[in-house]
């Protein structure tokens, strides 16, 4: 186990630099105008950055008002015994609730937890893993079925939500086990 962890720390250290050199290399090999492609993609990035601002404002304001009023602590204290029994830190509960509903909003929750608890805290890691491993199920459902005018979605929502719930719990347990 310890060996795997060391191995993983090596992977973590090199994975981003590796992607950063591998992609342009592969692009050049495929005769893609890498610089132009990069700039084109980066332009999109700014649109994404601006697009998430309203979501972040909505979530930052609502969650921090909730925290400042003391209601967050009261809720966490109230739920702590039940959540501790299943090994679920109450701090990541907002993430679990918001994740299937809004992508931008749940990004806001991760950012908020990173500010409150630090980037390397187990709480931020759990929320980050939840963010990375589940999707905005309601949004995908609306977009994909909306595009083809399907109104009766049958078991699509239950199937998606079951997978979300499993992923949310697994994120907590795997991060706990992995970073111990």
């Amino acid at each position: 186990m310890e060996e795997i962890r060391i191995y993983q720390s090596y992977i973590s250290a090199v994975v981003i630099p590796l992607i950063v050199i591998a992609i342009p290399l592969y692009g050049m090999f495929k005769r893609v105008p890498v610089y132009e492609s990069f700039v084109e993609g980066a332009k999109e990035g700014f649109k994404v950055g601006v697009m998430i601002i309203p979501y972040l404002v909505a979530i930052f304001v609502a969650i921090n008002m909730f925290r400042a009023s003391g209601a967050m602590v009261a809720m966490e204290d109230f739920l702590r015994p039940a959540l501790t029994m299943i090994g679920f830190p109450p701090e990541v509960l907002p993430m679990a609730i918001i994740r299937p509903l809004t992508g931008g909003g749940s990004a806001g929750v991760v950012a908020d937890l990173a500010q409150q608890h630090g980037m390397d805290s187990i709480i931020t890691r759990m929320a980050g893993t939840m963010f990375g491993s589940t999707e905005t199920t309601f949004y995908i459902l609306a977009v994909y079925f909306g595009a083809v005018n399907v109104k009766k979605t049958r078991h699509a929502l239950p199937a998606g939500l079951i997978a979300d719930v499993i992923a949310i719990f697994l994120s907590v347990y795997i991060v706990q086990w992995w970073f111990g």
Partner: protein, 357 residues
């Protein structure tokens, strides 16, 4: 649903804050207008307590016992409801008031003021009063009610002070937070933009270089058994493979249009156009729980290099949740309530012309 959660958070915050402030008000938690007796020491020699032209430096001693009985509610209700926590707070107060507090004695337009310097964490509830009433120099203003020079001990006086008026602490905090966080959300997103642009630029190169096609080869073979309703040579399978491959690489912007194309292609096979087929449900389930080889851009933008630690946990979680999504889609599809609405069921009376037989 999200509407209720969001509005609920805001409404609960304000109501909860008002309720707490109401309780503080009822218990007179901050002892507004009441006088606490203190000792002033280190007055300059010959000081007679007339108007002070210049602020003078003194030190103030507050007896822990006085402080405790000052803030402790008469009926001891606070001690009972707050239990051990409260006992701990009073212990902190004892430790805090063991030393004299440096202060400035001056005359302001509010009368004689004794401004206390605040070295570090104050005991409750003085910390709340401090946050609510501190002045521009981060001193805690208190107002002299009356005072008497101690006979025979030059430089000493006994005084009674009142603290600044403190009320609606939580509500004020909640509204301040509202404005502060709205601003910080914008600063935060602007900080993210650079990394998002960098990552999306790289991913665009990957997309243009046909990296998705490489992953299509990996995904393709497993799709046949998962989508039994799609004929072998139908283009829908290829589109689904491309959509899932883009998802694995977290190319969300590329994946969504591809997914919609795949959906349109599945719709061609559908006999009842307003109802989802098993294949559509499977595609959706696989999209919401796709295996992630790379985490999404936003996560990398928020967490920076710290996101690198999460590549493996995310991969593991999604591997399992994809399995769960597939199983759930298959099993739920076998349930009677969903099976009888299957648009592809034999002899479907609602079948429309144009659907594949």
């Amino acid at each position: 649903m999200l509407n209720y959660i969001w509005a609920g958070l805001i409404i609960i915050s304000v109501v909860f804050a008002l309720w707490q402030d109401g309780e503080d008000f009822q218990n007179d938690r901050y002892r507004n207008g009441e006088a606490l007796s203190v000792q002033i020491e280190d007055l300059p020699p010959g000081y007679e307590g007339l108007e002070d032209p210049e602020p003078i430096n003194v030190s103030v001693k507050i007896s822990p016992a006085d402080y405790i009985s000052f803030f402790e509610p008469a009926e001891d209700m606070d001690l009972v409801t707050r239990g051990i926590k409260s006992a701990q707070v009073w212990a902190e107060a004892k430790a805090f008031f063991a030393k004299p507090i440096p202060a400035k004695l001056m005359t302001t337009n509010r009368g004689r003021e004794l401004q206390l310097t605040v070295p570090d964490a104050l005991p409750t509830p003085l910390d709340v009063i401090y946050e609510a009433t501190k002045n521009d120099n981060d001193l805690l203003p208190t107002y002299l009610d009356g005072w008497v020079l101690t006979d025979g001990e030059p430089g000493r006086a006994t005084a009674s002070i009142t603290f600044g008026h403190t009320s609606f602490v939580k509500v004020k905090q909640v509204s301040a937070t509202m404005f502060e966080q709205a601003g910080s959300a914008v600063t935060f997103s602007i900080g993210l933009m650079g990394v998002i642009a960098l990552w999306m630029g790289l991913m665009k190169i990957a997309e243009d270089a046909g990296l998705i096609a490489v992953f299509v080869k990996l995904v393709r073979p497993i799709l046949g058994p998962l989508f039994p309703q799609i004929p072998k040579d139908h283009p829908a399978l290829g589109l689904i493979a491309v959509n899932l491959a883009a998802n694995m690489l977290a190319l969300g912007n590329a994946a969504t249009p591809l997914g919609i194309k795949a959906m349109e292609s599945l719709q061609e096979l559908n006999q009842e156009k307003d109802t989802a087929t098993d294949s559509m449900v499977m595609l959706l389930a696989m999209n919401t729980a796709s295996v992630q080889l790379l985490p999404p851009v936003t996560l990398i933008a928020i967490m920076g290099l710290a996101a690198a630690d999460l590549f493996l946990p995310i991969f593991l979680v999604t591997l399992v949740s994809l399995g769960v999504a597939i199983t759930a889609a298959k099993l739920l599809g076998k349930m009677r309530m969903f099976k009888k609405t299957d648009p592809m069921r034999p002899n479907n009376p609602n079948a429309q012309k144009g659907g594949a037989a």
